[in-house]
Symmetry: D2
Subunit: 150 residues, 4 copies
């Protein structure tokens, strides 16, 4: 298995995560091959990043129904290392990889109960205006919160 | 298998459907037991009823982004008669069962390629105001369109 | 709202649940109307009943990969009382309604944090043989476990 | 928007697709931001590649229930260029990017009705043995079929 292009030193990368979110695999998330369907990792990524954003104080405006900005996904990558099965207890790790003017690069790591890394990933989120659909720069406060989480 | 309470005469019920919508079972819709996960029939029902509403001219306001009314689900029932597997080509039949002042009772029937009825169902949709969240009576036109479809 | 046909006395029904399972609404489970998509309640029902079966000691054979019997859904009903939104913390209650020879009737109740009942439901599960696809009677032990939970 | 690392010349890349699969966006696939939820593109990718594999004659063994090999996802990438909304009619294009000994790199392109490219992507599938879980080399026939599709 080739190392994903978003990881330089795997050991250091792995140890740099602070935030994680617990998920137990649902039966409806498996498929007829008997394991977690490949599309579900992105559902876990989304839920973990929203909770991460809540944790560091960024989600409030986005998910209040009067918010003027929303986060949209610019790209996503996912590498599958170990099969995952029904009822496994996973931890979905999220961290900030890089902060742009209007966007943020997030990294993801999914670990099973034995401590094996089953999935790694990354993806860029962009903050856009609900009205214009165009990217909006981070406020100073948001930028600080993203930085502080690293 | 007991007859569902929304069907009086099965043969007549079956023959009274006019509208149907084709669906092929996706792999991500199966589960580790190897068949269609039970939750997916409601995804098929939803898609079929929206297409049915479009067909009879009711969906326009609901799904335009400026619409002031939306349809919400009041209740749903589903009876599973035959297992369904990956890649099966199904037809999702929909028809109006009964028309209320602000709501409509829809019936559903899912048939496989051999003509076997795999799933039957029904459910009531209510038209509500986006603003108040309260039920709104059908317009004369909408009522006529629902009646005409029967 | 008419009382669902599976509830006689709502207050007594509500108080008879002992088991519940916590769920927080995921963003991917909402739809463009801004609330929980109607199809997701069945995902919650499934996850809650599997956890309920685990709790009372019935799930072991079904979900081990060597099991000879599996539970299948015979029918499902769902009544929607209150809208549910992103990030709400819900409790999915499950209880045994009635025990048959090869099947069990389960009741469901979804409550939000304010204690409002948002969704009620019921459905029959049948234990079938993986090999023949035919219903199999409960073992004495399984029957006792189902009874004890009531 | 930076060019994804799997595309050298966008115009040539775009024109090199031959196979496509039609999808209409389901309501349950939207989210509370009003557009297609980001996780659904992978559902479309999966369905499109399975149909592509069927088209070129590779899917037969994998999806027969007696098959000894199955395809698993090694990695996935997705770039989001244009928002997608409910009811849009899309074409999901798939093509072989590169053929390995036991794996194949697939490219994806999602186009809306106006011809705009909304999503691009790629991912590697590996053929593994159901029994051992280990990668298995392509048969000569499979390799030829993959090559012929390019």
């Amino acid at each position: 298995m080739a190392k994903p292009n978003y990881i330089e030193d795997f050991q250091r990368w792995k140890e740099s995560f602070k935030y994680s979110y617990p998920v137990t695999v649902r039966f409806s998330e498996t498929d007829a091959f008997g394991h977690l369907n490949n599309t579900v990792s992105f559902v876990y990524f989304e839920q973990a990043r929203i909770n991460f954003f809540k944790e560091i104080g960024l989600a409030e405006e986005w998910f209040s129904r009067k918010g003027k900005t929303i986060p949209v996904t610019a790209d996503l990558q996912c590498d599958y290392l170990h099969q995952i099965y029904f009822d496994e207890e996973l931890r979905i790790f999220v961290k900030v990889g890089k902060i742009g003017n209007t966007s943020v690069d997030l990294h993801y790591m999914i670990q099973n109960k034995k401590g094996e890394i089953c999935i790694t990933g990354r993806g860029r989120m962009v903050q856009i205006s609900q009205e214009t659909g165009k990217p909006l720069s981070w406020s100073e406060q948001s930028k600080k919160r993203l930085e502080k989480s690293m």
